[in-house]
């Protein structure tokens, strides 16, 4: 089992390198060079060339990429922003933490609302506890986060004047953005948990448990639920992608100084160092969470545990 964990941890290295490569390669297609961007349109071409040479901009792509990763890993050096001329890392790190706060709040709400409703809907199938939440979840799955965010803004801030419309001053500031980003994944989680639970309830071992006279509570909680929740672990990890997309728009709508809104804002200024670094940082974080999900899954699922301790190690 530990060999599985170590193997997964080792695979993290090529994954992060690959992720960096993809982003770096895609972004290097864009026209323009750092010298011109840093020194401005009025700078002499000779100065621009000298700046680019000092930065290693004219080196072949693989060497440039290698240098970028080296600086990134060793010194957390992502270069300088074209717009503010400040070190990129200093700019993105506090905003990254802000996004992280919002995203974890979102995951927490999405899981703690979606999963219980999903379980209950499956256990009480065809009752009001199933039909009403299922219908709500169905419609919520058709709402993108930015539509929810705008509607919340309109009703709760503008019309009812209940919640602040922008900023991060207090807990109240987080209510609307956190709900806007967590409702679509909560709906997904609910639908997924319900079908997973329904599947588990139909399994032979649940029928066996019922047949031997186990109480309904025991059947549901001990036999069905434990098996039904396994795929839900993966689903929560997957819903993180939806959540990140939601976080980007929620930060834009509610003026939260997070990394997503930073990237979107800097796209308008063609501030590539910030765009690349921000994208890489979120992707690494995403990778780490997915890895964590896989490892948790392997630990809780005896089938996977057995499979990996026998064959692949």
């Amino acid at each position: 089992m530990y060999r599985y964990v170590i193997k997964r941890l080792l695979f993290l290295i090529p994954t992060i390198l690959g992720v960096t490569l993809i982003i770096y390669a895609v972004m290097s297609i864009t026209p323009g060079d750092p010298g011109r961007a840093m020194l401005g349109t009025s700078a002499l071409q000779a100065d621009v060339d000298a700046y680019n040479a000092a930065l290693g901009y004219n080196l072949p792509f693989p060497i440039k990429y290698f240098n970028y990763v080296k600086a990134m890993v060793i010194d957390q050096d992502f270069g300088f922003s074209y717009l503010t001329k400040q070190p990129v890392f200093d700019e993105i790190w506090p905003r990254f933490l802000e996004t992280l706060k919002l995203a974890f709040l979102g995951v927490f709400i999405a899981a703690s609302v979606g999963i219980p409703f999903g379980i209950y809907a499956a256990v009480k199938q065809y009752s009001l506890w199933d039909t009403v939440p299922s219908l709500v979840a169905f419609f919520m799955a058709a709402f993108p986060s930015f539509v929810l965010g705008l509607l919340f803004l309109y009703f709760f801030s503008l019309k009812l004047n209940l919640l602040p419309s922008y900023g991060i001053g207090s807990f109240e500031h987080y209510i609307m953005p956190a709900l806007a980003i967590s409702i679509p994944p909560a709906a997904q989680n609910m639908r997924f948990t319900k079908s997973s639970m329904l599947e588990a309830i139909r399994q032979d071992y649940v029928r066996t448990a019922r047949a031997k006279g186990a109480a309904e509570r025991t059947v549901v909680w001990k036999h069905a639920l434990r098996n039904a929740l396994l795929p839900v672990v993966t689903q929560i990890g997957l819903s993180l992608g939806v959540l990140i997309a939601g976080a980007v728009v929620a930060e834009k709508i509610f003026s939260i100084p997070g990394i997503g809104s930073l990237i979107v804002d800097r796209i308008a200024y063609k501030d590539e160092p910030v765009i690349i670094a921000g994208t890489i940082l979120i992707s690494i974080c995403f990778t780490l969470v997915m890895l964590l999900v896989d490892i948790i899954y392997a630990f809780v699922d005896p089938r996977i545990r057995a499979k990996y301790s026998n064959t692949k190690g």
Binding site: I23, A142, S145
Partner: protein
């Protein structure tokens, strides 16, 4: 009713007639699926006939004497900050969004299914290479990846299509690969092999017909996902270049006038949600119709 015809031929092409009838019967028995189908047909017909309902010119023509007009007989959904007719923008914008979504779904399904089939069928080193590369590829969150591609290549129809295809093909690789692996172990495939069928025959007459249902259901649901996604991109200003209308763009423009002209926000929101919901209804209905044992 051109649309219905297209729908039934796709169903025809992957199941024998008797089964098609059976699937159609199950599909049409589900209220949700029928509502979704009717709603989507109405939307699709309106978008297809957009030019006949209201000319494209009305969607981009600025008229500053008509700024932010409330909904009226002349402008069903009012006018935006440039005096453009919101109803015309909604129809023509929907056309763009829906065609990008359909094309991106199709191309990602083809690319992903081909890679998944190769991976599942050949196995071994080819399989692990494709799957490991995919793991890396999937580690970049979709939204950031599409943003980077659109930023690097420039925002236009082709690049948007390209970016969305790359963001969505990964689903199909895993899905088709697991289908192929799963089906290859089924008893009837074993039986066919024992009966002397070759690989080509097994793939064509046993594996593909059985995998196609899952792919079609997934594809239907993906259209809705891509519509939501594409509108998010255009909301962030990474969609089609202006003055081309788009639902997400209309919403980001409407935000400014939320206080004075909230209807500018309501209509595109409703359009996005109704379109996505109607496709999801069809997708769910199709899933139950194709795979009755999934529904208890």
């Amino acid at each position: 009713m051109n649309h219905q015809k297209v729908e039934s031929t796709t169903v025809d092409s992957f199941k024998r007639p008797s089964q098609t009838k059976e699937i159609w019967r199950r599909f049409s028995k589900s209220k949700g699926a029928v509502i979704g189908f009717v709603l989507f047909s109405i939307i699709a017909i309106m978008l297809l006939a957009a030019d006949f309902i209201v000319p494209y010119e009305a969607a981009i023509k600025q008229d500053f004497s008509q700024q932010l007009a409330a909904p009226s007989r002349e402008h069903f959904f009012g006018t935006d900050g440039y005096g453009r007719d919101a109803f015309a923008r909604l129809l023509h914008g929907g056309r763009t969004s829906l065609s990008i979504a359909l094309l991106a779904t199709f191309s990602s399904a083809v690319l992903g299914s081909a890679l998944g089939a190769i991976s599942g069928y050949f196995g071994g080193k080819v399989d692990s290479f494709i799957m490991r590369s995919l793991d890396i590829f999937m580690s970049v969150p979709d939204i950031l990846f599409t943003m980077a591609v659109v930023y690097a290549l420039g925002a236009n129809f082709t690049n948007l299509l390209f970016a969305l295809t790359l963001a969505y093909f990964t689903n199909y690789v895993r899905l088709v690969r697991s289908q192929v692996l799963n089906l290859a172990e089924q008893d009837y495939v074993e039986a066919a092999r024992a009966g002397g069928s070759g690989s080509t025959r097994i793939i064509l007459s046993h594996i593909i017909p059985n995998a196609v249902g899952v792919i079609i259901v997934n594809t239907t649901l993906n259209v809705a996902k891509i519509i939501l996604y594409e509108s998010t991109l255009s909301f962030l200003g990474l969609g089609m270049p202006p003055p081309q209308p788009e639902w997400g763009l209309m919403l980001s423009e409407a935000r400014e006038f939320m206080r004075t002209a909230p209807w500018l926000m309501f209509f595109p929101s409703a359009a996005i949600v109704i379109t996505a919901a109607s496709i999801n209804l069809m997708g769910d209905g199709l899933r139950d119709a194709l795979d009755p044992h999934l529904k208890s």
